[in-house]
């Protein structure tokens, strides 16, 4: 079963050196224990573009994120875990490592 662990952020997107180091340690552990699927950091929301091409015609491009909010998505892990208890435990370690709130959501 796979889970998306979204990293939520309010402040600057770049991690500090200590955060980077802690994330590396956590990532290595994910890989060693077979939980690693994929992970990545994201650029600032101001650099986002929203595209609407529903219904065809000319696609509409809008500058900025699809939703304005104080908190935004700054990165994510996709992890493989047997169940939610395992996912929550890993997410807690991830939150500590990157020093940010995280959200866990199951893949369908």
């Amino acid at each position: 079963m796979q889970y998306l662990v979204s990293v939520l952020c309010e402040g600057p997107v770049t991690a500090t050196e200590e955060e980077e180091a802690a994330i590396d340690v956590f990532n290595d552990k994910l890989i060693a224990d077979g939980h690693w699927v994929f992970a990545g950091g994201l650029g600032e929301p101001v650099n986002a573009t929203v595209i609407d091409h529903r219904g065809g015609g000319e696609p509409i491009f809008t500058d900025g994120p699809y939703v304005e909010s104080k908190e935004f998505l700054v990165g994510f892990w996709v992890i493989e875990a047997a169940d939610l208890d395992v996912a929550l435990k890993l997410a807690a370690e991830g939150s500590r490592a990157c020093n940010r709130r995280v959200e866990v959501r199951p893949f369908l």
Partner: protein, 416 residues
């Protein structure tokens, strides 16, 4: 309809009711383990109990009602899964053949019902969902009963339970606790759920409900006992068990022959269950001897130990009770604790002093029946009959327990 057949109907009705109380949780837990799906388990269990009424009338009550119900529920579940599989859901079809495999490893907890408790009380679920699920899956209450117990609309309660079950399935909340180290962290949440279940049994809500629902209090005590065997050194588990036992011990004296609640000072203390009191006192002493600072349940248990040590209400060591409430206020400064402390203060320093405290809580407790009941009693004791009557009226309007309503109505009507 002739008499014998009525007698058979009554007998079957009683047998189904008893089986529901004793076997519901086990049937649901067994099916949950086997099918890995709370919905399937719950609906099949409900169908099996419905079938029992019909079959037992025709064929008599089987020698092992629990076994009959589990087997029938399993058949219903397989039928259901097959029906769904025919609609093209291949995954479900696979499950039909999967369920005869040896069950998955079950983790640290042996008792199936207890594993179900930990699933229903999972910290990833909202507290209100945990209580509702525990009452539905373990207690066997209908959605309507749970809705009534928590004063919400039945449709809203139905949605809450459906959402919670949906999350258990989609997010894969496991039907087990992985290891013994995980238990202490989970147990706090489980204890609050069990305490809510106990309270709902002890002061049942609903005009048509028995004032005391022993099925719920017994279920809460049984599950708390099980948790205590798993975590014998957990102070709050011992405290909650002691609290429940000392409260349950007074049950035989708590409701009059006419279904009216009897207040603590008017209870026939000879009717209290001495064995439960002895066990509760033993637990309280054990916690005191540990020298570890007590939590909320341990303090509440100690208060109840003081009450159950007194030969009559006048003999109660009220200064001890107030001192314990002082301790409780420090860890839980809620208005409800302050209200209960004031009620004890009334016995020590008189109703006037207590009234002054209670009136300050009015803003926050205006919707709470016990606030108005306590206030009505204190006003009565200071001779302020008209105000007392108004407070009784408000308490009666808010009280959800039939025995309490009867008690409050009598007290109001006794006012000069």
């Amino acid at each position: 309809m002739g008499k014998p057949s009525e007698a058979v109907h009554d007998g079957v009705h009683a047998a189904v009711t008893r089986a529901h109380r004793e076997e519901w949780a086990r049937v649901v837990a067994t099916l949950t383990r086997r099918f890995g799906d709370l919905d399937v388990a719950e609906e099949a269990a409900a169908e099996a109990f419905a079938a029992a009424v019909e079959h037992w009338r025709a064929e008599g009550v089987p020698p092992n009602p629990g076994g009959w119900l589990t087997t029938t529920a399993q058949r219903k579940a397989i039928d259901r899964v097959r029906r769904e599989a025919k609609r093209g859901d291949k995954q479900k079809e696979a499950q039909v053949f999967f369920h005869d495999d040896p069950p998955e490893p079950v983790g640290a907890i042996e008792d199936e019902r207890l594993r179900l408790v930990f699933t229903c009380c999972h910290p990833a679920l909202a507290m209100e969902s945990r209580v509702a699920l525990t009452l539905r899956m373990l207690g066997g209450l209908t959605v309507a009963e749970i809705a009534r117990a928590f004063l919400v609309q039945e449709t809203a309660m139905g949605q809450r339970i459906t959402r919670a079950k949906g999350k258990i399935k989609a997010a894969r909340i496991p039907y087990r606790v992985r290891s013994a180290e995980d238990l202490p962290a989970r147990v706090t949440g489980v204890l609050s759920v069990l305490f809510l279940v106990f309270n709902e049994g002890y002061l049942a809500t609903g005009a048509d409900t028995d004032p005391v629902r022993q099925d719920l209090t017994a279920e809460a005590i049984r599950l708390t006992r099980l948790i205590r065997t798993l975590l014998p050194r957990d102070g709050e588990t011992a405290g909650l068990l002691a609290l429940m036992l000392l409260t349950e011990a007074r049950r035989p004296a708590r409701v009059s022959a006419t279904g009216e609640l009897v207040s603590l000072d008017e209870q026939d203390r000879g009717a209290w269950d001495r064995a439960l009191i002895a066990e509760g006192h033993q637990l309280v002493r054990e916690r005191l001897a540990s020298g570890i600072a007590p939590g909320r349940y341990q303090i509440l248990a100690a208060i109840n130990a003081v009450h159950t040590s007194a030969r009559d209400a006048r003999d109660t060591d009220w200064s001890q009770v107030v001192a314990l409430y002082d301790q409780l206020v420090r860890i839980d400064p809620s208005p409800i604790v302050a209200l209960n402390r004031a009620i004890a203060v009334a016995e020590l320093d008189g109703p006037e002093v207590a009234l002054a405290t209670i009136d300050r809580l009015g803003d926050r407790l205006d919707g709470y029946h016990a606030y108005h009941a306590a206030r009505a009693d204190l006003l009565r004791r200071t001779g302020r009959s008209t105000e007392s009557r108004t407070a009784y009226d408000r308490a009666i309007e808010l009280a959800g327990n039939s025995g309490e309503t009867a008690y409050l109505t009598r007290r109001r009507d006794q006012l000069g």
